[in-house]
């Protein structure tokens, strides 16, 4: 086995939470808001079903092939050649996803706090850090998540409490004015993010307490959904139904915080917390990618591929994305479907094939 470290189920939950919430909370509420208007807070609830499907399929596949990741069991299910091809497709999917994730993060920092810093510095330093974390093994990332994510949550709750006095619940109404369609449409972009719960398939083989795994993954899913629902509710109550006119609604909301006329301008604190939250996210995806590559190539160690894949991620974060608008277009119209295809649909098909194979092989024995 490539990875000798072990993580606890709770650490896995923290990692998953960060992996999904890290980037989605920045710009996706605005994209959802374009379609859902004042039903925007319902969208994450629909979207969470994508996470549910991703987790369930990952579990079932795991129960068929314990201690293996999708890169390995794809080859078992489909046979060596098609399996390897699918494995490659997965690696490409994750490297593109991570590259664009890092780009979203870097665009956010440059656009709001460090206007004169070159994009490459932000992308490269983040990947440098993630690569070092990945080389430290899954235990290191798990423990980092365990320390960072609770801080992230406390800061998030404090932030929401500080915005609340400025909120006006009237903006919620009318609920479901145009039926369910707007909120369902608005749920498509977050669905792409919720599907990232499929990353669990790279973490499950390394759990020290497998029994609690199911419970903790539901905790992660529910917390993530709640976080997004609360975010969207607060933004909606603050800005009314035109939240799509803000690039980063939650950031603009934190800028509105003012307590007793002197506790103001706290958005840089929030930005700092987002940065470390994103660090966990990119580390988890990078880890999955590096481990998957090592397994795909049948290497004896995954550490040597960490640097090359890090550099590739940096390059991909610049490829084909001339601007933030282009990236936003991609995250609205391409990524959700790409993500759902790879993280819910294909795993479900794999599960189906695996199920049929199992049944057939059992049948062979009995006859």
């Amino acid at each position: 086995m490539l990875e000798k470290g072990k993580i606890s189920s709770a650490q896995m939950a923290f990692m998953l939470f960060a992996a999904v919430v890290g980037t989605v909370i920045l710009s996706i509420p605005a994209i959802s808001g374009t379609y859902a208007k004042n039903d925007v807070w319902i969208s994450p609830i629909w979207a969470s079903f994508a996470g549910l499907i991703a987790i369930m399929t990952a579990y079932k596949l795991q129960s068929f092939y314990p201690k293996l990741t999708i890169i390995q069991y794809a080859a078992r299910i489909l046979g060596p050649f098609p399996g390897k091809l699918l494995g490659l497709a997965y690696l490409l999917f994750y490297i593109v996803m991570n590259g664009h994730g890092v780009r979203i993060y870097a665009d956010f920092i440059v656009g709001t706090t460090l206007p004169r810093t070159p994009l490459i510095i932000l992308v490269a330093t983040m990947i440098l850090l993630c690569t070092l974390a990945v080389r430290g093994g899954i235990e290191g990332i798990g423990r980092a998540a365990q320390i960072i994510v609770p801080g992230y949550m406390i800061a998030f709750i404090a932030l929401i409490l500080l915005i609340l006095p400025n909120c006006n619940a009237e903006h919620l109404f009318p609920i479901l004015e145009h039926g369910l369609t707007p909120s369902l449409q608005g749920s498509i972009p977050p669905q792409g993010w919720f599907a990232e719960f499929f990353l669990i398939s790279f973490l499950l083989p390394f759990l020290s307490d497998k029994k609690k795994a199911k419970k903790w993954s539901w905790v992660a899913l529910i917390t993530t959904t709640l976080t997004l629902v609360v975010t969207n509710l607060v933004i909606l109550c603050l800005f009314g139904r035109n939240i799509s006119s803000y690039t980063y609604p939650l950031l603009t909301a934190t800028r509105y915080i003012s307590l007793a006329d002197f506790f103001e301008n706290v958005e840089s604190v929030i930005t700092a917390i987002w940065v470390i939250g994103n660090f966990v996210k990119f580390s988890v995806v990078h880890y999955a990618l590096v481990l998957g590559t090592a397994q795909w190539l049948n290497l004896s160690d995954y550490r040597p591929v960490a640097w090359p894949i890090g550099i590739l991620t940096i390059i991909i974060s610049f490829w084909s994305m001339p601007s933030q608008m282009a990236l936003s277009h991609y995250t609205t119209f391409v990524f959700p479907f790409y993500s759902l295809l790879f993280q819910t649909l294909i795993p479900a098909l794999l599960l189906l094939i695996a199920y049929i194979r199992m049944r057939d092989s059992k049948g062979d024995h009995s006859s």
Binding site: G111, E170, F239, N242, S245
Partner: protein, 399 residues
Amino acid sequence: MKHKALIVGRIAALLGILQMLCGCWDRTEINDMALVTAAAIDKDERDGIELSLQVFMPRALGSNSGGSQGGGGQKLTLVRSSRGQNIADAVSKIQTKLPRKVFWGHCKVFVLGEEFARKGVREEMDFLARHPQPRERAYMFVSKGKAIETLNLLPPLERYSADMMRKLSELKIGLKVTMKDFIIMLGGDSKAAALPMLDILPPEEGEQPSQGVPYIAGTAVFKEDKLIGDITLQTTRGVLWLTKKMEKATITVRPKDAKSGFITINPNHHVIHQTPRIVNGKWQVLLSIQTSGDLVQNGTNWDPMNLDLLHAMEAAVQDSIKDKIELALDEVQKTMKADILGFAEDFHRSYPRQWGRVKNRWDEVYPTIQVKTDIHVNIRRPGLSTVPVAIPEDEVKKK
């Protein structure tokens, strides 16, 4: 040997990382920045705008606190203005006249000149919303006359005029509108917006012309993004009741049957409900106001401890509130036809389907909406006196 190389390598790496910590190559310290405290936008006589910035002078503050405390009137700010096609253009031109970099992060006040506001404000609001530095919490005003004049003032009580305007807004005598609120109003269903209107109290005789003070004179009414007129502070009070924003009030009335004198109450606790209704195809807004407060002055000879007289006093106050509301409706709804009362939003919330049908001809529907009021005033306490003071007891009307 290998061990040694490793140690040397590690030390070199550490030293390399240390280089990143000093981060001073592009430092921008406080004395490299021109802190904007207020900005004013006026119409240029040609096509563009004239932007004026009130910039804080930290040095003046230092000398002031160290030496003689001159109180107010000390010049802590300077005003620079420039013309341009839009704000961004004008800022770049102001920058040529300032040795420090313009920084918007502390700008808490934006004043729009009357002339400029009549032309339409949307184009310039975009800069304020898009640029990362200006704060969404900054207060917005419209000034009678040129906006730059409000920046040039040196009000005696506050450090600079921007501070004064901000505090006036926070007192909530008139409307209190932040940039975020203004943008929401402009983009909302009502297609109308309201901002507090500033005027300048002229200086006393013998004082410098800059010693006038800005004050809130009423409310500027916008339709679409253009200023179409303004209403007085009296009418604004009615608007505050109608939009549930009333906080502190001082109501002075003469009760109907009183021979002479006025009573004044300070209602400070309000429960206001504004319910849109559609009854038999007629659009109505039911405004229910419950307000209570203390009696602060009683110039009549009535004894407020007598419950009948107290109710008569309450009735008089109710009528006064109703008059204010009708005044506001008359001007804003019937004459200006600008929905700064937010009726469009209310109907959209409660009757989404019916609202969808009239959405495109809201301008015609809005003036026909009936407002029904249901006002309850409760005078809770008489203050420290019971009967009217300073009149002989036998003249006090006790029944």
